[in-house]
């Protein structure tokens, strides 16, 4: 077990940046923290979490998949990929750390998405425990422990520094090559720091949710519930929830003609958009009600059905803060669970 006093965080990052690119959360305008490449002088944000999730590192908002050049009548394929450099992300919270294992289930399942797999192979996740989870946090409802996040290396915050523990071979090798910056520590301190976080986490207002009404096999119970109409009534279909969500992974594939070549790229898409399922011959999700229902049914029923019961939500609370009409997965869960009791 190693220990890194907060005063030595900059030195750790400086040393780490010599090994690989390292990204850290940095405060931006309007208290919006965002991941930035660490450079000497970069101040690590003290915010609980970044406005956008950390999924960009492995599933970027836009990404070129393949290129085409056309000469007379002939086509030529161009593979735009360059070997991704090794990088590390420091400051990933427990919710986002779990989101990676959820994204893995989509992108690494057969046939694996080689673009995502390549980024995962080159990325190192340095997670940090949450000292004070926020009122909008509900990771614990989904079985996530904010005091002990997943990741290649876990940094457990005790207010004055971090207990540092490697969880993977990759993480171990990384710590090994930086050993000079850490103090030795015993596990009791880490345990106490975790207990402090747990005491707060146990009192979170949204810390338990009625999930027993949801999960694989519940499609018939939930799909035709009348509450979908009132829940979705004010949804403006902006898709913000899907963009800030660490587990939303739907994407579009489109072509862009640069004049010199055609670039086929993928970009984040949203099931909340009216043209998401639109075909030349019609649209199976005609109104916002069907699109809204799809998003929550996917996270709460379809995803668990296909993935051994795991829910497609990590309780990060970003959608609670970002939705312009104040709708969110917690309200959906509670509404459908309550009314289900009465019927």
């Amino acid at each position: 077990m190693k220990y890194l006093p907060t005063a030595r965080l900059d030195r750790f990052l400086e040393d780490a940046a010599k090994l690989r690119k390292i990204y850290v959360p940095v405060d931006g305008e309007q208290n919006r923290a965002a991941y930035r490449l660490w450079m000497p002088g970069t101040v690590v944000s003290k915010a609980l979490n970044t406005t956008r999730s950390a999924k960009d590192f492995f599933f970027p908002q836009t990404e070129n998949l393949v290129g085409f050049r056309r000469t007379e009548k002939k086509l030529e394929i161009v593979d735009p990929r360059r070997e991704t450099e090794d990088f590390a992300v420091f400051g990933v919270r427990a919710c986002d750390a779990r989101s990676f294992s959820i994204l893995d289930k989509v992108f690494l399942s057969d046939p694996a998405d080689t673009y995502y797999a390549n980024r995962r192979a080159h990325g190192l996740v340095l997670s940090v425990s949450c000292r004070r989870p926020a009122e909008t946090c509900f990771c614990t409802a989904f079985g996530i422990d904010p005091s002990a996040p997943e990741g290649d290396v876990t940094f457990t915050d005790d207010g004055e520094g971090y207990y540092v523990r490697a969880n993977s071979e990759k993480g171990e090798a990384f710590l090994e090559s930086l050993s000079g910056v850490f103090d030795e520590a015993d596990e009791a301190g880490e345990k106490e720091a975790r207990a402090q976080t747990k005491r707060i986490a146990d009192r979170l207002p949204l810390g338990t949710l009625p999930l027993e009404k949801f999960g694989g096999g519940k499609t018939k119970d939930l799909f035709d519930r009348p509450e979908w109409s009132s829940l979705s009534e004010s949804c403006i279909g902006c898709g913000t929830c899907t963009f800030v969500c660490p587990t939303c992974q739907c994407y579009d594939i489109r072509d862009f003609d640069t004049g010199r070549e055609v670039r086929r790229f993928r970009c984040w898409d949203s099931c909340m958009y009216s043209d998401f399922t639109k075909m030349a011959g019609g649209n199976p999700r005609l109104t916002q009600k069907e699109r809204f229902r799809q998003r929550f049914m996917h996270k709460l029923v379809y995803f668990p059905e296909n993935n051994g019961g795991e829910f497609g939500c990590v309780g990060c609370g970003r959608c609670l803060r970002a939705c312009p009409i104040g709708m969110n997965i917690v309200k959906v869960l509670k509404t459908l669970a309550e009314d289900g009791n009465e019927s």
Partner: protein, 273 residues
């Protein structure tokens, strides 16, 4: 399937047949002149014109067609309008095959088969029909009930009337009477009820959603069970491998868990297609 699922193969269009005023059949081979890949009847592939778009089409040739793939494509949107402007010798990209095929080598083996198609809905069934014809001794009696708006809209009319009638019972119908038509007139679902096909057969149904709905209703009235009826679904698709998230019906992805579904399986899914 290529492990690099997003990298397509460049293929040459060697032959284009005009089937109907808005349906053309494209024969494609890879650059070395061979069949681009092996598939099973009912499977699909992503066909693209780079810069225009990419979309999922069922392979309408049979695995027993050894030298090429064929796609019968109706002009009904942006990409398909461009595809209809292609000329032989031009190149497209193809990736696949995708999805679950019709169970031609297990559940359908030695069975009496009843194909029911409407309009362009014949395209995905054509692959199965050609396969069954190539291995005719492996299947029982075969009935084909096929209808379109008019005689001119019957896809593969020549192949049907000169070849399929040799070893299968073909029943054609068109929606409205025409001077040059002495065959049956009427909608497919009604014609199916009129013909009252034998209950000891497996039905494979494809066509516009409304035609499928009424046909299956009719079959059910005749006594067919959902386990005896197959169809093939179509929803918007982008990736073809169950990741981009748009072709799901409930927890099933049409691109990977379908496109072929048995009606008892569809009954378990929400009515959102």
């Amino acid at each position: 399937m290529n492990p690099e699922t997003m990298l397509p193969a460049i293929c040459t269009v060697t032959e284009i047949r005009t089937d109907t005023p808005d349906v053309k059949t494209f024969r494609v081979v890879s650059r070395d002149g061979k069949k681009p890949f092996e598939h099973l009847p009912g499977q699909c592939a992503m066909v693209s014109l780079p810069g225009i778009g990419e979309a999922m089409f069922s392979v309408t040739s049979s695995p027993t067609d050894l030298e090429w793939l064929e796609f019968s494509i109706k002009k009904c949107g942006h990409l398909t309008e461009w595809l209809h402007m292609l000329e032989p010798g031009m190149e497209v990209t193809v990736r696949g095959p995708y999805g679950r095929p019709f169970p031609v080598d297990d559940e359908l083996l030695h069975k009496n088969l009843l194909f029911i198609a409407g309009g362009i809905g014949l395209a995905p069934l054509r692959s199965v029909i050609r396969y069954v014809r190539a291995k005719r001794e492996n299947y029982g009696n075969v009935e084909i009930i096929y209808g379109a708006r008019s005689k001119a809209d019957l896809v593969d009319y020549d192949e049907i009337t000169t070849e399929w009638t040799r070893d299968m019972n073909v029943h054609l119908t068109i929606d409205r009477a025409e001077d040059a038509w002495d065959g049956h007139v009427g909608f497919v679902p009604n014609y199916v009820k009129e013909l009252s096909p034998s209950l000891d057969s497996v039905a494979l149904v494809c066509g516009p959603p409304i035609m499928i709905k009424f046909t299956v209703q009719g079959l059910t009235e005749l006594g067919f069970r959902p386990e005896q009826i197959y169809t093939t679904m179509e929803l918007r698709m982008k990736c073809g491998v169950g990741k981009c998230g748009r072709c799901n019906i409930g927890a099933k992805y049409v691109c990977k868990d379908g496109p072929v579904f048995r009606f008892d399986e569809l009954g378990e899914l929400p009515d959102e297609y």
